[in-house]
Symmetry: D2
Subunit: 321 residues, 4 copies
């Protein structure tokens, strides 16, 4: 038996592009409830109250929407070296970069669909200023209660032309495990959920029917309780945020979800996984057939059409919308 790989510790941060920077920033801070660590010209470093790093979301002013890059932190400096060696051997490496305001040097590479990834170990730990210091010292920042107030970055979802190719890539490059997947009748993979640790997933890929490349589906932060998501639905409603679908429970992974579109159009989720974890080291991939997926979500909600068509940046028909 090949031993499981633990080189990559966790998803570190996501860079999101917005062509409505001010509106997006207002959404992510006042409504969604993230806290800025640094606001630069056209760039905001944001994090949830219990994210231990300087930032988990980098919001960047851009001529379009979508994802800038995705970063994972490794378990150690040695693990970083091992991964870089593997990735270079795979031939998809870009090379070392200095890292931005939130962390040290990082190794960049691309997935087969053109999304840019980073691996890093050296990071900047968030130090709460006086006003944000928590009453209990085992959390990173005080529970501020502003907006939806999620606890931490949870996962992201990317679109790709061929999810099967991504499956091979992610398991090799990051040593990820495939916890669940959708097997379409045409032999293709409709979606694939990966994890590098005990979370049930930290990244997922869905098949892109829009013909784009390197596109983004959504990013998700975790709240502590499902009630936080019901409460968030009212907050989104009162703030005029477009609620796409939810709250409801996913059949796949069982997470309780709520999807909205931030002002620039990027899809953002709030989710709660309850006490579910993938602790089993030899977890067998759960495969869902197309027939099973047609039953809709866990409690019968039909998956909304835009969930299959809307990605960022928009392409084709969606672009005009």
């Amino acid at each position: 038996m090949t031993e499981p790989c633990f080189d990559v510790a966790h998803l570190g941060h996501v860079e999101l592009y917005t062509d409505k920077f001010e509106e997006s920033l207002d959404f992510f801070t006042r409504v969604y409830g993230l806290t800025p660590s640094l606001l630069e010209d056209g760039c905001a470093y944001l994090r949830a109250f219990d994210d231990y790093e300087f930032h988990t979301l980098k919001l960047t002013r851009h001529h379009t929407t979508g994802v800038g890059h995705v970063a994972y932190r490794t378990a150690s400096p040695q693990a970083l070296e091992r991964r870089v060696a593997v990735i270079e051997a795979m031939g998809c490496g870009i090379g070392w970069v200095d890292g931005d305001a939130g962390h040290g040097r990082a190794y960049r590479f691309t997935d087969p669909d053109g999304h840019i990834f980073e691996l890093y170990y050296d990071t900047k730990i968030y130090e709460a200023p006086e006003a944000e210091r928590p009453a209990l010292k085992n959390i990173a920042q005080r529970y501020h209660g502003r907006g939806c107030c999620p606890r931490r970055l949870d996962h992201l979802n990317l679109l790709a032309a061929d999810v099967s190719v991504i499956r091979d890539f992610m398991t090799q490059a990051l040593g990820s495990r495939v916890t669940e997947q959708i097997q379409l009748d045409n032999g293709r993979l409709g979606g694939c959920w990966f994890t590098v640790n005990n979370k049930s997933y930290d990244i997922a890929y869905s098949e892109d029917h829009g013909g784009g490349q390197g596109r983004f589906h959504h990013v998700t932060y975790a709240v502590d309780q499902r009630e936080d998501i019901l409460r968030a639905a009212d907050i989104f409603l009162e703030n005029g945020v477009h609620i796409e679908t939810g709250p409801h429970k996913h059949a796949i992974q069982g997470t309780f979800f709520l999807y909205v579109w931030e002002p620039a159009g990027n899809r953002v989720e709030l989710a709660n996984a309850g006490a579910r974890l993938i602790l089993r080291p030899d977890w067998p991939t759960v495969t869902w057939t197309e027939t099973e997926r047609k039953k809709g979500q866990a409690w019968g909600l039909k998956t909304i059409e835009t969930f299959h068509t809307h990605g960022t940046p928009p392409v084709g028909a969606d672009k005009k919308g």
Copy 2:
């Protein structure tokens, strides 16, 4: 930097002794909501609805209460061999046993306080019979809704004469990380929380003031939501179960808790950690001083006296009680 160790995957099961077997079994199945995989003469193999293994609690008829043994599953067969080598070198090994109804061969050893531990890799996966098959195939058993209906085994807490010695032992033997601890004014450790994975802890030790050896403090299963714990409080109330303290939020680890005593006197907890996980690979131990601990639990509840005195099997004054 020494690299983190990932040899041990997770806490596997706990064997609990009871001198009121029938009453304890009724409590754990009907009220607490575990499901038996196997009932033998004087022995019950129990599990929560999403525990993937054959059992996570072995309830054994005995002349007293307390813990029989504690078992962890390793990440691979190779990892098991590595750990056994370390433990044998530490001089605290007992040797290989065949394993009981729930798993294959296991290596036994003792901690410095005399508690018996097991490490194993080969395990028996729970196969849900027809009536217990879940509607969604990514959970182990259907959500049956019986009693408190916890999702999975979470952690246990043991008493020890010297927690400092235990800290060195656990970090060496299992490669556990110390996520939080209590530093008493007298220089001793009052308590220590360990984890081998991304859960904030899977085992904790508290100083035994009773003069016993190898004693047990409590075992805990996790529910998905804090509301499940409030609901459980009513279930315990209506079933005449002794509620010791809670529901409330721990200052240490931030878990939402409820402690009860099962009919034989063993302390049992229900807990919810929200979305909190220890994803940071270089997590620095959080140390609480005696002064900080005097503030009570997170929202001010004073820690109840019996929490410091009651363990199983009882010793001294507690024994007569």
Copy 3:
């Protein structure tokens, strides 16, 4: 100013017809979580754990589905006499009946759509047998935790050919207040919500597009928390109950809802209104336009088609389904 009327205290019970008596009874007791007070041949008297009367749901074996009768309890014997005088003057009275196992004599009458109503004051108070006695004596029965375990009967919804006529009828006959209503573009009322007390509604009527008469839309019991409804969704899922729509929040009345069909096809809801009450004595009816209703439910869920077409007993196309 005319003074408000307080003659009618609350909705008392609903008689439901089923052509699958055993399956329906199993659903209402084991899955939905009501408790039988009396089981007779072809008739079950059921109640929720905190309903103070002998029964709030009478389940009757019948050749079809739908509602048998609807009963309200008056505030006093004198109030009963006053209401009977009003109803007789309205010309829709049927006359006095002895009452069944659950209450004393009752006055029967019909609404303009042919549904049968009862008014009564003398009632049989539920006396919990030993095994059902609550730990706290201010609730009617112990919190048993079986199935969805609702607290009390909340409301029902009936279909009618002309809701405007019903509005006049209910306000006159029972002295009900109209808390909310739907004003269609064609001048008709699409729906109307009534209350006789501080609950936001105890009965609602929706326009019947099916051409039937005296038909039933749904009956609803209240749970304490929204989490109870999310939990119930899993219970319905695991027990193969058809979930029609939800959980979600109604735009009208703001209740958090979940609709299922019991085995015979009658629609049953679980709901939670939070802390919302109609305490204002001069509450002005909230009127929703057709345009407003097209926005869907509170968080955007589109109202499912069957919600407008499915009633019991079935008529027309629905009948064949």
Copy 4:
């Protein structure tokens, strides 16, 4: 049978005195989550997001703490006249006042312990300004999500030298029903819970052991879910608010509670009653004995000592504290 009285519709507002006006105002608006309708010199008119009137809490700068007056709204102008006639006949009337910024003329009277009450019918309905307009028009103000964000005023608790005298007074003056009470072994009433509508109580009185007169115990606003109270506990914790006791479930009335002290020392509660209502017109008073009360709260929490000694304004030993 005497018919029940429905003259008084609901508790209208409470005037609270503070000798730390700015700190108290900051607490009630930013932390507790009420919204000001009007801020005057030394006086703030506050309300919860779904309170339909101009204000439910009048915060008044004063040389001490405690309650200024308590106001109930009647069901109609005629009902107001009837109540005034009764109260004048009882000989405890003060007379008509013009009413303040929140309502029209009101009739003032005193209870036997010297607390000042008001009855009024004409009131000022809250009209949400543009920024506070709700997305759904059936609530008074948008769900702003600021602080604990309670929905509405729920009840208050006053201290009195002789609760038996109060019981007779309230049932006669307001036509209140006594839903629950504590019967002490010495023949006195330890506490009494009253309601004028379907809420389980709108005012409670506890015996004042401090020797004061006209003192205040606490005022309570209702939140929709118990989870809102758990969340509020973290908000209070992070804002340095003194949490006196809770969250826990009351044995009496079954409400889920959390008690804090606002900066000037007045006790403030957040509570949730679930779906519990007193719909029964002939509800028999539930009487708790001293022995029963010694069991503590519903799940065993011992009632904290200050709960019996701390009232506002402080007297005796508490005064020096």
